[in-house]
């Protein structure tokens, strides 16, 4: 049995499935027929999928939830609270990697904001910033905790038979949101729908086709700013954003 695109059906664990991005990702993946196991610290939404109420910072819980899975997608995130940000963003990612190693899971899809890599020391100064620059998160709580998680991922790939694809985002928009048209937009923006579509190739790409065991992709719309570049995501994943958000960066 295979997906409409001819790829193998997978058992997919999604950590932090009940956040803002989760429902869009679930919709994209369930259309492909994958079996989804959802977890989140919050109460379950109305869902047909298996659901575990789970704190991503609970190592034993994450290991238990990953049993029988082919892939782990880590969407868990917590921004403002010092203790919980470290628990979820940094240790939660460690827990996902430890669970993957424990169960022999070969693919982890991690997520975060772009400034886990391209922090202020890049963004304040440069253009055409790509996802393969050396990490400079800076000390902002959200950035450094997620960046520590990515560093953990990288070290796990150097020590174990496991691949990590990290998808980095920043601003999300609904296509019909015209609240700030013509005022320009953060040059790292994307629609929720396009962002979710990036998970499909991340799940299906042959791991042997990746340049290395740890690859990072910038996921944002085709925009003319050239502050960042999404070329790698299009070239390697074959991801193609459909909405340029032009109504935001063209004058009214």
């Amino acid at each position: 049995m295979s997906t409409p695109q001819g790829n193998k059906y997978m058992n997919v664990l999604i950590l932090g499935a009940n956040g803002q991005l989760g429902p869009h990702v679930i919709r994209a993946l369930e259309n492909d027929g994958h079996t989804l196991r959802l977890t989140d610290i919050n109460d379950p939404p109305d869902t047909p999928h298996e659901y575990f109420k789970l704190d991503a910072g609970d190592l034993d819980g994450v290991i238990a939830a990953a049993e029988g899975m082919d892939t782990i997608i880590n969407l868990s995130v917590l921004r403002p609270h010092r203790q919980i940000a470290f628990d979820v963003n940094a240790r939660g990612t460690y827990n996902a990697m430890a669970a993957a190693v424990h169960h022999g899971i070969k693919r982890v899809i991690n997520t975060g904001p772009h400034f886990t890599i391209a922090g202020p020391t890049y963004e304040n100064n440069d253009h055409l910033i790509g996802p393969d620059v050396p990490t400079q998160s800076g000390t902002l709580l959200y950035a450094i905790t997620k960046s520590l998680g990515q560093e953990v991922c990288r070290i796990f790939t150097e020590n174990h038979d496991i691949h990590v694809l990290t998808l980095l985002f920043y601003n999300f928009w609904f296509p019909d949101d015209h609240s700030a048209d013509g005022h320009d937009v953060t040059p790292f923006s994307v629609t929720w729908q396009d962002s979710a579509e990036a998970f499909r190739p991340a799940l299906s790409i042959d791991l042997e086709e990746l340049p290395s065991k740890c690859e990072t992709f910038f996921i944002f719309a085709d925009m003319p700013h050239q502050k960042f570049t999404n070329e790698k995501a299009k070239r390697i994943l074959g991801w193609q954003p459909t909405n340029t958000l032009a109504h935001r960066w063209t004058k009214m």
Binding site: R82, R91, M97, E151, I155, E158
Partner: protein
Amino acid sequence: MNILITSASKRLARHLAAELNAEHDVRLTDREDAPGAQSFTLCDLNHDEATNELVRGIDVVVHFGELDSSLSVSGQLDDAMRCTYNLLWAASEEKIPRLIYLNSLSVMGRHDESYAVTERWKPAPTTETSVLGYHLGEFVCREFARENKIDVISLRLGELVWDHGEASSSALYPEDAVQAVQKALIAEVSDGYAGSSSNWNVFHIQSAVPNARFLTAAAEQGLGYQPSPR
């Protein structure tokens, strides 16, 4: 100088305090009580006023990257990342000029022993909690230094040899460890590449044992470190 040393229960922390005490005002701290420690303050290194109070008036913080193996994996990683972040955040707020991070040469351990590994080489830690923790703590320190919030010197220490124990190829005798910290307290190391300034410096520190695994030329030049002949 007013010096604060973390992880007061560790043998090297006590040894450092004893050695530095002759010339400096040394205080010790730990997240657990440390019976017998001099000038000791119990502190959880949380994000609160207690951590700011701990570092207030200090000239140099000496922070241990070594983790407490009696804690759970989660507890150790919490120490390595969150507590280090809280300490640096408080130190930055209190305008403490320098932090010395006591790292380990184990973070370079996956490089082949035949290689001439120096500070220019990329760290190569394993996922063993104790090694990973050292590396993640250094990662946090580097970002504070990058933003010029504090001057950080990371000393990657060799394997400590106590009480005439067996010396590995990366052995570090306590007197050499003390010497490296003493030098790092006062070193002028703000010159970066090509005339730029740098708040971030890393030095490899081990003793001059036969077949020494790691080169210490950078520490000898940058800190004036001179390992005793063995």
